[in-house]
């Protein structure tokens, strides 16, 4: 076997084309750098999305499957399991790792919830003693959030909340009826609900790189990607401007194996394998930018061992893989009497909630650190696989025709048929999404025994929730019950108790992996500096969620985009100064 050397040398090679990689490609190419982008998956264009497909066009009515864990029409290629690309867990650990393998990575089908971190979120250790502070502040990142808002587009409302800073917002869509009803109930128990902040265009953007992006047509199918480029995905928003510069070379089906280094320890490029032909390549570049998703980038670094970097590249501190975090989560559903016998109307709206609850108890005393936000759903959505499943648990609420109570749910026949009609749109759901604490002992490492089908050593996870997270999730359920009770609703199941850790989702399952190449000023305790630059090899950068020091109760992608923009400007600046 021969390793083919790529003849031309690039200024930068980016590994991965998701949020971080896409943003780096845009900013670096526009800054004049010649960029090669390696992506392990195939090409994807959201114009090929499953827009407007009906459930009945699918023989499984859109059911989820191993290949499409979020339903058949979902745009993702990849999932919780990928053939030939295993990962493992240490005994007692059950980390779930979701991976995309396609141009744009997980940005094709993500939830578009686009939240800025607030000032507190960068200095949590100073506030409660747990984890670490970031080496940068909200003021350092705010100009980049602004740039992302303007370039990508986001709707929201100006609320003036200190730790949920306002952005540069397009107008938010009006709430749906059931959302107003929940809002009324939530407010009555002291829980706020405000317009959500999603990267969906409710108005056209007025800059030149957005002319191909139509405003949203409210089909609520963002998870299928968007054929009119109305929401954010890397292929819709970041690849076109990068390509327009003529400086971008996308190399697809290219699985990076390791970052190569010279005798001084500086990176020289990346070796990769073509996933279709099996041919091995090496590509030279002045700068290497990793954006393969947090854990994949950590894996690449740990697999890039050399005499100068015996513990893996950028890992003299031994923190690579450590301080792994995922968001906490738990869910409740309820049937709401006021929503029974609804009035038919097109309730689709955007692909996601129109209202949400930001963390509202920063100042109150509580038995857990950090906070959570609440996401809501419900309404007259397109019936698909699993439609009103388990109705026997809740149709009792309708009573008998003569007004007497029903002795049991379930049933069959005419009454049941009518029950479905009457209860359609009357079930709501809510999910808490909370901040976990960064611990050194929650980590991914190289599994000593296992390789994937390309012969690349795979990751092994070790992750356990602490009481901090478990008590937080308990509080989520208390809040859910309060809101549901205030609406006179009936929970579809009992709030989970201590025996099940209050229903906390397994780590990884909220798909916000971050923290495994954390940033800091001290090279002994961090992998990269505040410009996402490796302490140990100054021409290596990590621009996915890896450099996050703490999590915030906010979904990570807006911050990944802002930090990637900032790091890329820094790279251009340093290249101009001949420091790279």
């Amino acid at each position: 076997m021969q390793i083919k050397k790529q003849p031309s040398e690039y200024d930068v090679v980016i590994v991965g084309s998701g949020a971080g990689g896409g943003m780096a490609a845009k900013v670096l190419t526009e800054g004049g750098a010649r960029v090669a982008m390696l992506e392990a998956g195939p090409y994807f264009n959201s114009e090929d999305a499953n827009m407007f497909k009906w459930s009945y066009e699918s023989p499984r009515r859109g059911a989820a499957s191993r290949k499409h864990p979020f339903g058949e029409f979902d745009a993702n290629i990849g999932g919780w399991e990928i053939d030939g690309e295993p990962y493992t867990n240490k005994a007692g650990s059950n980390f779930k790792w979701f991976r995309a393998r396609m141009l744009g990575g997980r940005t094709n089908h993500w939830g578009r919830i686009s939240l800025r971190f607030g000032p507190h979120d960068f200095e949590r250790k100073s506030m409660d003693g747990l984890g670490d502070d970031w080496p940068l502040s909200y003021d350092d990142i705010a100009p980049y959030y602004d740039k992302v808002d303007r370039f990508v587009g986001i709707f929201g409302s100006r609320e003036g909340l200190y730790n949920d800073p306002d952005g540069i917002f397009l107008p938010p869509p009006k709430p749906r009826g059931y959302e107003l009803l929940i809002q009324k109930a939530a407010r009555s128990v002291g829980v706020p609900m405000i317009p959500s902040r999603l990267s969906i265009l409710t108005r056209p953007l007025d800059h030149a790189a957005a002319t191909h992006r139509a405003p949203c047509h409210y089909c609520s199918q963002c998870g299928r990607s968007c054929s009119t480029h109305s929401n954010f995905s890397t292929p819709s928003v970041l690849i076109p401007p990068a390509e327009a510069t003529g400086n971008l070379e996308m190399i697809l089906h290219a699985m990076a194996r390791e970052v190569t280094t010279d005798s001084e320890g500086k990176a020289t490029g990346v070796s990769y394998v073509n996933t279709i032909t099996g041919q091995e390549y090496h590509l030279k570049a002045r700068v290497v930018v990793l954006a393969a998703s947090a854990c994949e980038s950590a894996r690449l670094l740990l697999n890039s061992k050399s005499d100068r970097h015996p513990n893996g590249l950028a890992n003299s501190s031994d923190v690579v893989g450590r301080y792994l975090m995922d968001t906490t989560g738990t869910t409740m559903m309820a049937v709401i009497p006021d929503l029974i016998d609804g009035i038919p109307h097109n309730e689709d709206g955007v692909g996601g909630m129109h209202l949400y609850t930001p963390w509202w108890r920063e100042k109150q005393k509580r038995d857990f650190p950090r906070g959570y936000h609440i996401e809501f759903w419900g309404g007259r959505t397109m019936p698909g696989y699993g439609f009103m499943g388990g109705i026997h648990r809740y149709n009792k609420i309708l009573g008998e025709i003569d007004g007497k109570p029903r002795s049991s749910g379930g049933g069959y026949g005419m009454q049941l048929k009518e029950d479905y009609r009457r209860l359609y749109g009357a079930v709501i759901g809510m999910s808490g999404r909370g901040e976990s604490i960064a611990f050194k002992d929650n980590y991914c490492e190289i599994d000593p025994d296992t390789v994937d089908k390309y012969g690349i050593p795979v990751l092994r996870f070790n992750y356990a929730w602490s009481d901090y997270e478990i008590l937080q999730v308990k509080h989520m359920h208390e809040t859910f019950s309060e809101i549901i009770n205030a609406m006179g609703g009936i929970q579809l199941w009992n709030s989970p108790g201590k025996d099940s850790n209050y229903g906390i989702t397994p780590p990884g399952s909220i798909i916000h992996e971050i923290g495994v190449t954390r940033m800091g000023n001290d090279p002994k305790t961090s992998a990269v500096n505040k410009f996402n630059q490796a302490h140990d090899a100054k021409n290596v950068f990590v621009v996915d969620g890896g450099p996050f020091v703490s999590q915030a109760d906010k979904n990570p992608t807006w911050t990944i985009l802002a930090l990637a923009w900032r790091a890329s400007e820094y790279i251009i600046d340093q290249m101009k100064k001949m420091n790279l």
Binding site: Q6, D48, S58, I77, C219, P344, R380, F387
Partner: protein, 217 residues
Amino acid sequence: MKKDNKHTENNKRQISRRDSLKYITLGTISVAYLAGCSTPEEIEDKIPKVKKNYPGISEEDIALMKQKFFTDHERETVRQLANLIIPADNRSGNAEDAGVVPFIEFMMLDKPENQTKMRGGLKWMDFESLSRYEKEFIKCSEEEQQQILDDIAYPDTARPEFSQGVSFFNIFRDYVATGFWSSKTGINDLPYEGNMANVWSGAPQEWLDRLSVSYDS
């Protein structure tokens, strides 16, 4: 070095607002066009060849749609049970009319892990009717069938000795519901009025009034 350069050409196809509206119309037409199909062959004929990387009906699905899981006896049991669960009325047809039987059969092949529950449950129905009426479920009169269902369709009050029947019926009811309500018939019946290009300007006033909520507070 071999590179996949298709993307470059594809990305030039940046679409304007007008193009996107054209796309939307096209999308709607093709949906209407497909809606009348029910057999796998018809669907296969009308669906444009699956694009590379395009989620949706695959070659494997088409192969599955041609396979059988149920015996004729089981399929007839499924048909009768499904129609007892969702009968026809003046608003829409019954489960069978909405294609529930082939849907359940497909799901058995698609998610084989559920096969035993289904097969065993159908068998349970037959054994129950045999012991009560000395005939298989499908040979029973509707009244006799309903007597069995009355014992297993109401989980909160069912007697413990019927617990297996109750479990089966809960699952079966859910299959019938998905199959019926996600069909074109079911969607029109509910009705679900979305899945189209729309301008969302809020919920209808009538609905807001019913909920005693408004956009002003």
